[in-house]
């Protein structure tokens, strides 16, 4: 009986000691999401060149090059992005601005600034939301999903934590996202993006991590269509640089004046 009492007390003590310890070790989903955002983006304004290569049934069908200028909004924490089309020649000089939920398109040929809906696409498979810089934590609430070993974009096994994101602002492009991040350093590995109807829209791999803008960041995303997996877009990021992005660049009225150095 004494032994039994001792065992019960020991078990109770162990449990009591263990509960706070487990709570402290429990990863915070929103903090992991924020850390994952910090891997993809920096806090400072920056410029990057984005090359999109589109494939259908294994054949390359389209290529575009964009220059992107991004700066976070101190009020919302979300990025505003000005995109300048560099190639192909027919699109050269066209601009797209995303600020909050506002998308504006400027064509230098007609000097017209036209408002776009989030669903309007200027590129092939990649949505406007895919090519602009986005902090998921500003628009999505994260919950912890399973911790599992998955294969990353380099086909290496990674200990990952799945974050289940649900949109809580109107600015969110997707209804919900499953985002697998590295359990150790919150590097994004893979995401599945879903529509309101819960249909899988796309699967995205974040890969080819390189030291850029002071941290290891993905320099390539591979977008696989949810309905037709043979429709693939490779987005390559090069020429990363911190740069000043004046506030005035990030509004419709400035678009006709925009001409970077």
């Amino acid at each position: 009986m004494t032994w039994l009492r001792f065992l019960l007390c020991a078990a109770a003590l162990a449990l009591a000691a263990n509960v706070p310890a487990q709570t402290a070790a429990e990863p915070n989903a929103q903090a992991m999401l924020q850390a994952s955002d910090r891997v993809r983006n920096t806090d400072r304004a920056f410029a990057v060149t984005v090359t999109l290569i589109e494939y259908r049934n294994g054949q390359q069908t389209d290529t575009s090059t964009l220059a992107s200028y991004a700066k976070s909004d101190p009020r919302s924490g979300q990025f505003r992005t000005l995109i300048r089309f560099v190639a192909p020649a027919r699109d050269s000089g066209k601009l797209m601005l995303k600020a909050g939920n506002d998308f504006w398109f400027f064509d230098p040929a007609s000097r017209a600034s036209v408002r776009l809906s989030p669903q309007q696409r200027l590129l092939g498979q990649a949505s406007n939301g895919d090519v602009v810089t986005v902090n998921f934590a500003s628009d999505y609430r994260a919950e912890l999903g399973v911790r599992e070993e998955i294969r990353d974009g380099e086909r290496k096994k990674r200990d990952s934590t799945r974050l289940d994101l649900s949109a809580f602002t109107d600015n969110a492009s997707y209804h919900r996202i499953e985002l697998w991040v590295d359990s150790a350093n919150s590097q994004p590995i893979k995401g599945k993006f879903y529509a309101d109807s819960d249909r899988l829209l796309k699967t995205v791999y974040y890969r080819r991590y390189q030291k850029q803008l002071g941290a290891d960041r993905p320099t390539e995303t591979v977008i696989i269509d949810g309905l037709d997996p043979k429709w693939v877009t490779v987005m390559r990021y090069t020429e990363f640089a911190f740069r000043d992005v004046p506030e005035t660049w990030l509004q419709r009225d400035y678009l006709p004046n925009f001409r970077p150095d």
Partner: protein, 426 residues
């Protein structure tokens, strides 16, 4: 639970996962061998040439229609360069060489579209001087606030409003802009440069765009998320000050609504077109002009714009019917005057434009445009199939103007047109 049922459930769960994993592997294999992009530098030049050949059916008053073949060679060039951190130079020009196998014959028209310097002492202030295409308007088919559109199109190669905007001349002006977070104030002064338009082949035609003094003040500010109106004041030595408003707002994830209005005291369009006509009042009264509608985009990349257009200064149905039945000279001068100003002919009109991007096959865009005069029920239909190559585009266009004789579109000289185009970007 029976064994076969259990196996079926397991298979139903496992097989899609395996298939998806294989598809993802295949996609990653593709990405592994994707070509490394060579660094691309944005060019200061934009240059393309366009070759068009077609057949048109021409309306002949009181006689059977005739047909003619048409050919066109165009060269379009644009240059935009920063000469220093503060100074920028912009130039744009277009040359159209056209030939029609009838009395119209061959024509050469050069359009000096833009040529100006822009000085930006800092990111908040801009001063521009020269010939500038200052284009305003949230609507697509009719832009009552696009005050500098009058006389701007020297060579009309297509009735698609997008082409009309791309190919037009700017106005000689001095333009100053100051910007703040979420807003801007723009002031424009356009002087008189010449008395009248000049149709000379290579003439810069300042008389078409700068035949009187005009000014414009535009203010805009983001008053709330999704609300960024543009308010305008326009002065013209030929009429009292006009007001303008532009607003484009999101209507959910897939639609944008637009509202464009201008209003002020003015003579009716008929009074302006025929100032000496007996029985036409020359009084200046308040008139509203409006274009409002929406653009909806489906997940399959079909964009549909529908727009209602109104001009209170244009003819109502009764006066329009009387003009059509009256002296042909009055009718013709009214039509010609309107065409120059890109005004709608009568009070009410509708405009629809649908574009299907990557239709049926990748890189193929299909466009349908429909204009309808709601007072005389005449219509203009325009269809285009355009295939995009890396440096070139191939297009097939078909246009049909239908309606009673002397109706808005029924009276167009070009009743039917079919043409093929080849455009090459350098």
């Amino acid at each position: 639970m029976s064994k076969p049922f259990l196996c079926a459930v397991v298979l139903a769960c496992v097989v899609p996962c395996v298939v998806a994993a294989e598809a993802e592997d295949a996609a990653l294999d593709l990405a592994d061998v994707a070509p490394q992009a060579a660094p691309t530098v944005a060019s200061d030049w934009r240059l393309f040439t366009e070759l068009a050949a077609g057949q048109t059916t021409l309306r002949q008053a009181g006689a059977a229609d005739t047909s003619a073949t048409t050919q066109r060679l165009s060269l379009d060039v644009a240059f935009d360069k920063k000469l220093s951190p503060e100074l920028r130079a912009v130039f744009a020009d277009r040359l159209d060489l056209t030939h029609q196998s009838d009395a119209v014959g061959s024509r050469t028209v050069n359009t000096f579209k833009e040529g100006y310097f822009s000085w930006q002492p800092d990111a908040r202030r801009v001063l521009d001087g020269g010939r500038i295409n200052a284009r305003y308007g949230a609507a697509m088919g009719y832009n009552p606030t696009d005050f500098f559109r009058e006389g701007a199109n020297r060579s009309i190669t297509s009735l698609d409003p997008q082409d009309l905007r791309n190919n037009r001349m700017g106005t000689v002006m001095l333009r100053g802009q100051t910007l703040w977070q979420g807003g801007a104030l723009t002031a424009i002064y356009a002087p008189k440069v010449a008395d009248a338009p000049n149709a000379g082949d290579w003439n810069a035609d300042f008389g078409a765009t700068n035949n009187r003094r005009r000014w414009l003040v535009v203010a805009s500010h983001q008053v709330a998320d999704n609300v960024n109106p543009q308010v305008m004041l326009y002065g013209d030595e030929r009429q009292p000050v006009q007001l303008g408003l532009n607003l484009a707002m999101l209507m959910g994830d897939a639609a944008v609504g637009h509202f464009e209005w201008s209003g002020g005291r003015s003579k009716t369009l008929l009074a302006q077109a025929a100032p000496l006509a007996p029985g036409v009042s020359q009084d200046e009264t308040w008139h509203n002009r409006l274009a409002t509608g929406f653009t909806y985009t489906s997940a399959s990349k079909v964009s549909l714009t529908a727009e209602y257009e109104y001009n209170g200064a244009a003819l109502d149905q009764t006066v329009w019917d009387a003009l059509r039945a009256g002296a042909p000279a009055d009718y013709a001068s009214y039509r010609q005057w309107l065409q120059q100003r890109q005004e709608i002919t009568t009070r009410h009109a509708a405009f629809v434009r649908a574009t299907w991007q990557d239709a049926l096959v990748n890189r193929l865009d299909l466009t349908l445009m429909l204009r309808r005069n709601l007072d005389d029920q005449s219509e203009l239909t325009w269809l285009e199939a355009r295939y995009r190559l890396d440096h070139a585009e191939l297009a097939l266009q078909w246009q049909l103007a239908s309606g009673d004789a002397f109706s808005d579109y029924g009276a167009l000289a070009q009743r039917r047109l079919i043409q093929a185009l080849f455009r090459y970007y350098f």
